[in-house]
Amino acid sequence: MEYSAKVLDHFENPRNMGEIEHASGIGLVGNAKCGDIMKVYLQIEDGIIKDAKFKTFGCGAAVATSSMATELVIGKSVKEALQVTNKAVMEALDGLPPVKVHCSCLAEEAMHAALWDYAEKAGIVIEGLKKPDPDASHDEIAEE
């Protein structure tokens, strides 16, 4: 598998792997059928993501994209976190093999699901954030 050095690094030394107790928002996406499941925990105070953690069942790219996604959102505002798209995650990882692009999409979905959960719990509306679709297939052609 042609993984970049950054992907291998995030796989070998994942950042922010773990759980957050009493998280502000939790997102769980994917399913065992596809072989990819990602869970993202967010701790948000005053609209800023103070901490993010992830758990992943999946291949090297799945681990690396979820690790990178959490790293990219920490310290950002909720609105800024929406800019952390699958494209941004892939760029930060110096790219993914074409067959692994869908993993980055799942990472974006996990992040958005966590933000949606936070918004529902906090009783607010986050502009530009759509309700996560549990039936959406994450293997569509992603934005390159």
Binding site: Y3, M17, I37, K55, T56, F57, G58, C59, A61, D139
Partner: protein
């Protein structure tokens, strides 16, 4: 320790004696076997010699062995050739759900062209049930194709019983023996086999070299037309170097089979026990006894296969998996699904296939490195987290 190679089912390293044949027939005796002049005779002799050596391994006659470009080509030829030559008698094929893609996709293609195919299910160990086979036979059945032993889970089929049914019903019986040939005893007559596919690169021979055993009297159409090679049944200038190497590899495999089998089985069982005993939530896939000597296939619950492979790779160990991520498709191995594994367990499988170069030391290294890898991946897994919370 150098790189440890545990993927012998994928391909094998060529032995020195075998490689010498490649060199010899590429640079010294490089003639075309069909040429008239004296120097080319050595090339022809080499091809005949290889034919004889391979025939000996399966107790066939030399003129029942035909060379092809791969095990896959042999599978394609056997299936397409058999149905083409016998389509006046019927259009039904019986195979199994756990065949190699070379068989499955050939059958699927034939389904689009007027043939009917029954894909027999297998039991939890991957064995085809004889009652299911008997029930599937129709007056229109013209071919039964069931693999000798499975490449992923190692399960060995009741070939003689299957052959007996085929023989009683007058149906051609093909078996893909690519993983079995040279590793376990095969007797084509005793087992009522009509056609058998084999491949050189699974027995320390070259890639790009296969063969098809065709029992005398079996009606089989050509797949490849052209010159008069292989008695006009498979055209193309013979890959003399590859064939000579194939023959030598077969000869050595035959001579060493008993000892190699014992040695490899011991190492296999040692590994299986070591993994199942020391790592919880694990499961052996395939039959525990009716199993290829070198095959270890284990599912690790709560984690995914490619990430296991990546971590092993980083530690210098080469292995394989049945996960979707490694196959490039969205579904995990059809073989693992075929034996009834739920998707998440099929994704979490690891396949180790041993060969003659593997050692006790290497097995111990794997047993040392695997538990911490599995633990790391489980600590990272939302499925394991969920499982722990339920306890």
């Amino acid at each position: 320790m150098d790189r440890i190679y545990f993927d012998n089912a994928a391909t094998t390293k060529m032995r020195d004696e075998v490689f010498e044949e490649i060199r010899k027939y590429s640079q010294s005796e490089y003639g075309n076997p069909s040429s008239v002049y004296e120097p080319a005779r050595a090339a022809k002799k080499a091809v005949d010699g290889a034919r004889e050596a391979i025939a000996k391994v399966i107790l066939a006659a030399p003129d029942e062995i035909f060379f092809t470009g791969s095990g896959t080509e042999s599978d394609n030829w056997a299936i397409r050739g058999a149905v083409e030559a016998n389509k006046s008698k019927g259009n039904h094929i019986i195979t199994s759900v756990i065949e190699h893609h070379a068989v499955l996709h050939t059958c699927e293609n034939l389904e689009k062209n007027g043939f009917e195919v029954t894909y027999l299910p297998v039991d939890e160990h991957g064995i085809v049930r004889i009652e299911d086979l008997k029930a599937a036979v129709r007056p229109s059945t013209i071919l039964i194709t069931i693999m000798y032993a499975n490449n992923e889970i190692g399960t060995i089929q009741p070939i003689r019983k299957i052959g007996q049914i085929a023989n009683e019903q007058g149906i051609i019986f093909h078996t893909d023996a690519v993983q079995a040939f040279g590793h376990i005893d095969i007797d084509v007559n005793e087992q009522y086999i009509s056609l058998m596919s084999i491949s050189a690169h699974k027995i320390y021979g070259p890639k790009g070299c296969g063969a098809l055993y065709i029992k005398k009297g079996t009606k089989l159409s050509n797949l490849i037309f052209g010159g008069a090679q292989e008695k006009r049944r498979r055209a193309g200038t013979e890959n003399v170097a590859g064939i000579a190497a194939f023959g030598r590899a077969a000869e050595l495999a035959h001579a060493e089979m008993k000892e190699e089998r014992r040695k490899t089985e011991d190492l296999r069982d040692y590994l299986i026990k070591g993994i199942l005993d020391n790592i919880p939530h694990t499961r052996l896939n395939g039959h525990p006894v009716l199993r290829l000597p070198g095959n270890v296939n284990i599912s690790f619950e709560f984690i995914e296969g490619e990430s296991i492979l990546l971590m092993l790779d980083m530690k210098g160990i080469s292995a394989s998996s049945g996960s979707a991520c490694t196959s490039g498709s969205l579904d995990p191995s059809h073989v693992l699904l075929g034996i009834g594994l739920p998707h998440e367990k099929a994704h979490g499988s690891l396949r180790i296939t041993l060969g003659r170069f593997n050692t006790q030391e290497e097995a111990d290294k794997l047993l040392e490195l695997l538990p911490p890898i599995i633990k790391r991946l489980r600590d990272m897994s939302p499925l394991y987290e969920e499982y722990l919370k339920k306890q």
